[in-house]
Amino acid sequence: MTTGRRHVSMGEIEFVVTRAAFGVGAPFGIAEDFAYAVQAAARFGIDPMPAALACLSHLDREPGSRQLTVAECGTEVILSGPSRLSAVFTGPSLSDFGHLPQFRKTVIRALNVDHPLLVAAALVSGRMKNCIIEWPDAQVILDEQRVIQLNFTDEDRLQAPGPVNLKIRSAVPDTIAYNDSRRRFDAATLETEARRIACEGVLVDTDAWAGLVEFFNRCLVPSSEQSLLDGAGAGLVDRD
C-alpha cells in the first residue's frame, strides 16, 4: 500500500487536514481541532497521516459517527453514539469535558471510538493535564508538567484503529506510575522535537497524504466564467 514517504510542513498539515475534515462534513472549528491533534501526534514521532485518512474516510462513509450523546451515571460520564464514534468529534468533546472542574471526580468513557490515538492526541493539543487515557494495550499519561508518556504493548497496537472503548480518568501527579515506559516526552523533549519538526518538516506516508489532499479538494469551489472575474487581477494581461 505504502509507496513512499514525503516531507510536509506543519503549516501544510494545518491547512490541508483542517480543510480535509471540513470537506467530509466536520464543522470548521472541529476540523481545526482535528488538524491540531494530527500535528500533536506528529510531535510524538508518529506518522499520523494513515490514521487521519482512515478516520476521515470513516466519517465520510458513516456521517452518523459524528453524533455524540452524553449520559451521566454516578461518577461516570459516558459518550456514545448510534454507530462507531469518530475521533474527529470525540477528541474535542472529551478534551472539553476534561477541562470541567467536576472532571477531577469523574471517569469519562467513550464507547466504540474509531481511532483512539487521535483522540489522545486531541487531548494533548487541547492542553489536558493530570489525566490518564486508556484503551486495550495502550495508555497515554499527561501530567501536571505536561509530560506525555505513551505506554503500549507494541507500537502497532498504539496506532491500530478501533473500535475500542476508551477511558479517561483524572490523576494527581503522585499517583502516576511511570513504569513500563515505552515512550516518554517531557516538556524539554517536546520542545526539541517541535523545533526539529519546524526545521525539517514531518515525514509522512505519501499515499495517506494524497488521500487527505483528495478530501481537501472537496472544499475548492469549481471555477465558472463569473468566478474567474471575481479573482484578483482579472481581465489584465500586462504589457506595461
Partner: protein
C-alpha cells in the same frame, strides 16, 4: 498620558483602507537592522546569457548566518505575463535559501522553483517568490544604459520599479520551512522579515540584471545606472485577495501590529514639548511628502480623488507646522494630531499620524520588537454560557447590530477556487460553493452564536453547549481568544454588499511599508516596495533610515 485611539475608531474598514507606512513598518525595521548590524551582501553566482536568462545566487550575511536568494530568469511570452495567482509562467522565480545552496540544492531548485505552486520545496527554503518585468520600464532602462545614457526619470517615476513580484510565499507553503524555523532568530523573528528580505534582494538582483543586459547589448559604451535612480526605484508588487484570510486568521498578531502603532502615536502625542530639531525635521519631511503626493498618480478614480484631497490637507498641515505658536503649545504634537482628526479625511488623519511618528525614532523604534506573536488560539470549555454571552455583548456590538436577514448584509462569500486555490470573492446569491465559504464572516457568525446562546441554560458550560452545537466551535474559540486583545477584530462585516476588499489589503501593505498604492479594482492593487530604500552599498550611511515618502531624484541624462 494620552489614551490610545479606541478599536471602534481604528479597526474600521474605511480607516484601515486609508493606512500609510510608518517608522514601524516591516521594511523600515528590516533596513534599520541591516544597517545597524552591517549585514554584508555578496553576489555568489550570476550565470546569465546576453538576454539575462539563467541562474543567479545573491547572498546576505547577517552576524549570525547566511541567506541566499536563488534566482531563475526565463524568457516569457508576453501573453503569459499576468499578476494573477493562476499564472503559470513568470519572468523570474526565486527561492530564499537558508544558508548557501550546494550544487545538489541548486539542481533540485532549478527543477522546482520555476514551477512555483506546482513545485515541491524543503525546509531549507524559507520563501518562494516570482516576479514579472515591467517590460516598458525594463526595456527603456536597458536601451538607455546600453547607449551610454541615463533613463528618463519622469518616465520611470510613473512606474516606480523595473520588476513586480506577484507572490511571495513563506511559512511552510509547498513544503518550505515553517515559521518555527526562524521565529527565534534575532534577524528574522519580526513579522514578515524573511519575506521582506526576499523582496529587498529581488530589488538588488533586478538592478544588477538590468545593468548586465545593458552591458551585454552596449558593450563598453554601456553606462551604469545612476546611484540615485537605483535608490529611487523600488520593487513592484501586485496583491490580491489572499491577504484577507491572513488578517482574519491571525487576530493576536494583528492586535500586536496595531497596538505598537497606536502606542507609538500616543507616546508622541503625550510629549509636552516639541524641540526645534524635531520641528525642523518635520518641515523637511513635509516638503518631501508633498512632492511625493504630487508624484503619486494612479488611474483609479477613488484613489485619485483621495490623493487630491490629501495634497490639500498636507499643504494645510505644513502651514500648521509653521505656526509660530506651535512650540509654546502644551502638548504640541497632540494638538496637531487632534487638528488633523477634526479637519482631515481619513487618509489625511492617518498620514498625519505617520508623520508625527517620523522624527521620534527614540520613542517609537523599540516597539517594532513587540509586533510579532507566536501565541495560538484558545478555547475555555469551563466558561459558562452566561459569561460567554456577556463577553459577546460587551465587545461585539458592531456585529450584533446588523440585520443578517437582509441579503445585502451577506452579499458576498470568500472561497478558494479549484484554479490553483486562487482566493475569490463572489456574490453568494449568484455563484455556487457557499457551503465551502472561508470562515471570515465572524460578525455574522458571532451574531448567530449569540442567538443560540440565548436559548441555552445560562449556567451551563461551553463544553456542553459545543457538544450540541459543534458548528459554533470556531466562533466560540474566536470570542475567547480575542478577549484581551482590543485591536484583534475588524469592526465591520467582510461579506456585506459595500465591502471593498482593497481596504484590507491597504491596511496590511501599509504595515509592510508599501507606498504608491495603485488600486486596479476593489479586489487588488499594485504597490511599490522599498522605493527610496538604500541599496546594499548605501546601508549604514547617514540616510539609511531616511526614506519615508521618497521623491524622484534630479538626474542628468
Amino acid at each position: 498620558m494620552v489614551s490610545l485611539r479606541p478599536a471602534e475608531q481604528i479597526m474600521r474598514l474605511d480607516r484601515m483602507g486609508a493606512s500609510h507606512q510608518t517608522r514601524l513598518s516591516f521594511m523600515r525595521a528590516l533596513v534599520r537592522r541591516m544597517s545597524k548590524e552591517r549585514w554584508r551582501f555578496e553576489r555568489l553566482r550570476f550565470d546569465l546569457d546576453p538576454d539575462g536568462y539563467g541562474t543567479s545566487i545573491f547572498a546576505i550575511h547577517t552576524p549570525n548566518r547566511t541567506y541566499s536568494l536563488i534566482a531563475f530568469t526565463h524568457a516569457l511570452d508576453p501573453d503569459q505575463r499576468t499578476d494573477r495567482v493562476i499564472a503559470e509562467a513568470w519572468d523570474a522565480t526565486f527561492s530564499l535559501f537558508d544558508g548557501v545552496p550546494t550544487d545538489a540544492d541548486l539542481a533540485r531548485l532549478a527543477h522546482n522553483t520555476p514551477k512555483q505552486e506546482v513545485g515541491r520545496f524543503s525546509s531549507t527554503e524559507l520563501v518562494l517568490a516570482r516576479a514579472n518585468k515591467s517590460l516598458r520600464a525594463f526595456e527603456h532602462v536597458v536601451e538607455c544604459l546600453a547607449d551610454g545614457r541615463q533613463p528618463d526619470i519622469d518616465f520611470l517615476a510613473r512606474v516606480g520599479y523595473l520588476m513586480r513580484t506577484t507572490a511571495v510565499y513563506g511559512s511552510g507553503k509547498f513544503g518550505c520551512a515553517d515559521r518555527g524555523r526562524i521565529s527565534e532568530r534575532s534577524d528574522t523573528r519580526g513579522p514578515f522579515q524573511v519575506e521582506m528580505l526576499t523582496v529587498y534582494l529581488i530589488r538588488w538582483f533586478t538592478m544588477e540584471l538590468v545593468e548586465y543586459v545593458a552591458r551585454a547589448r552596449g558593450g563598453n559604451r554601456a553606462a551604469k545606472l545612476d546611484a540615485a535612480v537605483k535608490r529611487f526605484l523600488g520593487i513592484g508588487n501586485a496583491t490580491g485577495l489572499g491577504m484577507a484570510p491572513f488578517l482574519v486568521k491571525h487576530p493576536i498578531l494583528i492586535n500586536n501590529w496595531v497596538l505598537a502603532r497606536e502606542t507609538a502615536l500616543a507616546r508622541v502625542r503625550a510629549l509636552k514639548l516639541a524641540s526645534e530639531e524635531q520641528l525642523s525635521e518635520l518641515h523637511k519631511l513635509m516638503r518631501r511628502v508633498r512632492r511625493h503626493l504630487e508624484e503619486w498618480n494612479v488611474d483609479d478614480e477613488i484613489q485619485q480623488a483621495r490623493t487630491s484631497t490629501l495634497r490639500n490637507e498636507m499643504e494645510d498641515f505644513e502651514r500648521r507646522l509653521s505656526d509660530d505658536g506651535l512650540l509654546s503649545e502644551k502638548r504640541p504634537w497632540d494638538m496637531l494630531y487632534l487638528y488633523a482628526e477634526t479637519n482631515y479625511s481619513l487618509e489625511g488623519q492617518e498620514l498625519a499620524a505617520s508623520l508625527l511618528m517620523e522624527p521620534h525614532a527614540q520613542l517609537v523604534d523599540d516597539l517594532a520588537e513587540t509586533m510579532c506573536s507566536d501565541r495560538s488560539t484558545c478555547l475555555k470549555p469551563s466558561m459558562s454560557v452566561a459569561e460567554l454571552q456577556a463577553s459577546i455583548t460587551t465587545r461585539y456590538g458592531w456585529a450584533l447590530m446588523r440585520d443578517y436577514d437582509d441579503p445585502d448584509e451577506q452579499r458576498y462569500f470568500w472561497y478558494y477556487s479549484e484554479d490553483k486555490l486562487e482566493p475569490r470573492f463572489s456574490d453568494r446569491f449568484a455563484e455556487p460553493g457557499t457551503e465551502y465559504e472561508m470562515p471570515l464572516a465572524f460578525g455574522r457568525d458571532i451574531a448567530a452564536l449569540d442567538m443560540e446562546l440565548a436559548r441555552a441554560e445560562p449556567s451551563s458550560s461551553v463544553a456542553k453547549f459545543l457538544l450540541v452545537h459543534p458548528e459554533f466551535r470556531h466562533v466560540v474559540r474566536r470570542v475567547q481568544t480575542t478577549a484581551n486583545f482590543p485591536y484583534s477584530e475588524i469592526h465591520d462585516s467582510l461579506i456585506a454588499s459595500d465591502v471593498r476588499p482593497i481596504d484590507l489589503l491597504r491596511f496590511k501593505l501599509a504595515f509592510f511599508g508599501a507606498s504608491k498604492f495603485d488600486p486596479k479594482s476593489d479586489l487588488w492593487t499594485r504597490i511599490t516596495m522599498f522605493q527610496g530604500a538604500p541599496m546594499p552599498d548605501d546601508l549604514g550611511g547617514p540616510g539609511s533610515d531616511d526614506w519615508f515618502f521618497p521623491v524622484k531624484p534630479e538626474v542628468t541624462r
